[in-house]
């Protein structure tokens, strides 16, 4: 079992001990003692924040009364002070009172909560629809009106995660392609998943909805301030659940429109690159890049996989066998397993590169080249 990550651990444990001793005296580098929920940047998020605070203070008040009475008895009704036990053990009126009063308080809480919930469920009349699909372990955003379609995954380098490099500001909360939405417009999210259940959550919008494979959940937001907002997948979705962040860039409507046209242009460009002739070395370089980003999470950089869960590609019969079967598997995945379809995730060039890479890396080089144009044809 690959329990221990590196040999540095022993010294780490020692330094931990010291750190924990110093902890309460020395402020640490990441001084950010945020205590409370974020108010966020939407009407709903503020309504929720208010609800949260109201209930919180009600609970505090009840706690003060109840614990206060208790503390009083603990102090004054102790035997060592000579307190004698009284002999009452029932009182109908008191008992009715402390049943009815909490009931009334609860109704007081339920009313505003119901109002907020009804608002949150009203996903009608949106200005923009985005289908959000959770994959192990990345998000796909499809803009239903304009046809913009891309994947978004973590960019924090592995060195930072394992502690070989200094952690930067947005550690674990940065992605390659953020979702972009316009400010002030009602954006509807159609949330679903490709494999297991994920949950799309941006705290500042107070949007959290589970992504259920095979079903679509609706949610919406109207963001009031432009900016960059960060969130994370909130439902355990396997090994890298902690590593699938969400970044949303909110832009003015004009900037958003520019972004859309840029995206469409870039998508067309990408499709075209398949027409170029690629040689083995070029494909291997690109292939390694793609492999690290898209495949290594499961099959591992070494191609050895994780026994029992993700098969090894090194020495795999499919990888070394008939190219057609191999291509088919990578393009369409294997339904009902974690092996997803990559046909929409990667461009024809990237697909060709990664398949070529698989067939030639790890010492079992077959020397064959899968050409991008070949894949491009299959993609159509």
């Amino acid at each position: 079992m690959n329990l221990i990550l590196s040999a540095k651990n022993l010294s780490r444990i020692c330094s931990y001990a010291t750190v924990s001793v110093l902890f309460f005296t020395v402020p640490t580098v990441y001084a950010d003692w945020q205590l409370n929920m974020r108010e966020g940047v939407t009407e709903i998020s503020r309504a929720i924040y208010d609800l949260h605070m109201v209930i919180f203070w009600i609970c505090v008040a009840i706690a003060i009364i109840v614990f206060g009475v208790m503390l009083y008895s603990v102090i004054y009704h102790r035997k060592s002070r000579g307190a004698k036990a009284h002999n009452f053990h029932e009182n109908l009126y008191v008992e009715i009172a402390w049943t009815v009063i909490p009931m009334v308080i609860l109704i007081g809480m339920a009313v505003p909560a119901t109002g907020t919930l009804i608002k949150m469920y009203d996903a009608r009349e949106s200005d923009l629809d985005i289908q959000v699909t959770g994959y192990q372990w990345k998000w796909r955003y499809q803009y239903l009106e304009s046809g913009v379609d891309f994947f978004s995954s973590l960019t924090t380098p592995q060195e930072q995660i394992v502690g070989d490099a200094e952690k930067t500001e947005n550690y674990l909360l940065e992605v390659d392609n953020p979702m972009v939405i316009p400010v002030g417009l009602k954006v509807r999210f159609l949330i679903t998943a490709n494999d297991v259940i994920h949950s799309w959550w941006v705290p500042d919008f107070a949007v959290k909805k589970d992504a259920i494979p095979g079903f679509i959940n609706e949610s919406w937001t109207i963001v009031e301030e432009p900016g960059i907002y960060r969130g994370q997948c909130a439902e355990l979705c396997g090994k890298d659940h902690g590593f699938m962040p969400i970044v949303v860039e909110v832009k003015s409507k004009a900037d958003f429109d520019i972004w859309v046209s840029e995206q469409l242009l870039a998508q067309a460009e990408k499709a075209k690159s398949a027409e170029k002739r690629w040689n083995l070395d070029e494909l291997m370089v690109l292939g390694e890049e793609v492999y690290t980003k898209s495949c290594a999470a499961c099959h591992q950089a070494s191609g050895e996989g994780i026994p029992g869960v993700f098969p090894a590609l090194k020495g795999s019969l499919i990888v070394q066998g008939d190219p057609a079967a191999h291509i088919n598997l990578v393009l369409n995945g294997k339904p009902g397993t974690a092996m997803q379809a990559f046909i929409d995730q990667l461009s024809a060039t990237e697909l060709a590169a990664v398949i070529t890479y698989e067939r030639n890396a790890w010492g079992d080089s077959l020397g064959d080249i899968i050409s991008p144009s070949q894949i491009a044809k299959m993609k159509q």
Binding site: Q131, L190, T192, G214, F215, I216, N217, E218, P335, G336
Partner: protein, 294 residues
């Protein structure tokens, strides 16, 4: 108290529980290794499973024989009798909840999940993912027929299932007659009615096997034919399992009656089996209505 207190019998030691636990372990581990076996785990699993069954069988027989023997020796007070009754009663309640889980699944799928997938109701947007899928029950075409091919036909409720309903209901009646006869100490009638009950139970099972065979070979209705097949087989399958167990229990009771056990006023073993059998019967009526007819 009116009557004199008879001491509550507490056996001093017993190796049945620990051996029964070992048996369960063998069954679980054996079944586990068979199901996950790549190449070699299978044999080992088979052996374990076999050992587990053997042990369990042995323990059940000796445990119950001991109880019967203790009863004969007069160790059991009326209070003990009551303990057995409560125990059996609550055991059957837990069985009811076991079936409730499957019925719940069936209702949820019919009333909510399938309509949503087909574009109806509050989560009808899900239809975007399954274009062309329509709401129907029995579900003849699944949302993704390439993964789960729907059944070609379903079981006609008015043939075998109806026959089976009649069989089971009459078996409940015959069992009641047998019980009545036992109370009157009419032992011949008791064993005759009881034997008839066993035959009815066995016939039920025989027809269920035929029905399953047809479902697999002719109707294309299998465990894997989408959620209709799934709910159909899990409900009828676990019911069938219970009928099997019930029939075996009836058979044991029959043997004991023939050996001259049970008296008109003391025959809890008989009653417990009868309760179980009626429970199985009631579940069947639920199945007949919700799985076959509706």
């Amino acid at each position: 108290m009116q009557t004199e207190y008879q001491e509550y019998y507490v056996p001093h030691q017993s190796y049945y529980p620990i051996v029964a636990s070992v048996a369960l372990f063998c069954l679980a581990f054996g079944a586990g290794s068979i199901m996950t076996a790549a190449e070699n785990g299978g044999d080992f699993g088979m052996i374990l499973l076999f050992v587990g069954f053997l042990l369990l069988f042995f323990i059940i027989i000796s445990w119950f024989s001991t109880v019967a023997a203790e009863s004969r020796l007069g160790l059991y007070s009326p209070q003990m009798d009551k303990s057995f009754r409560w125990g059996m009663g609550w055991f059957i309640s837990s069985e009811v909840m076991f079936f409730a889980a499957f019925f719940g699944a069936l209702f949820y799928i019919r009333v909510l999940a399938v309509p949503w997938l087909a574009g109806e109701g509050e989560k009808g947007v899900s239809h975007l993912l399954w274009e062309g899928f329509v709401n129907q029950w029995p579900l003849m075409t699944t949302p993704d027929p390439s993964l789960f091919k729907g059944p070609e036909q379903i079981v006609d409720p008015w043939h075998i299932p109806l026959l089976n309903t009649i069989l089971l209901i009459s078996s409940s009646l015959t069992l009641t007659f047998s019980h009545k006869a036992l109370k009157l100490n009419n032992r011949t009638a008791t064993s005759l009615w009881l034997a008839l009950t066993v035959v009815l139970g066995a016939t039920f099972l025989y027809y269920q096997v035929i029905e399953y065979h047809e479902a697999y070979t002719e109707l294309g209705l299998t465990l894997a034919s989408g959620v209709y097949g799934s709910t159909f087989f899990i409900l009828t399958g676990f019911h069938g399992l219970h009928v099997t167990i019930g029939t075996i229990m009836l058979l044991c009771i029959l043997v004991r009656v023939l050996e001259g056990e049970f008296s008109g006023d003391k025959h809890f073993g008989f009653e417990a089996v009868a309760w179980y059998w009626h429970f199985v019967d009631v579940v069947w009526v639920g199945l007949f209505i919700f799985v076959y007819i509706l």
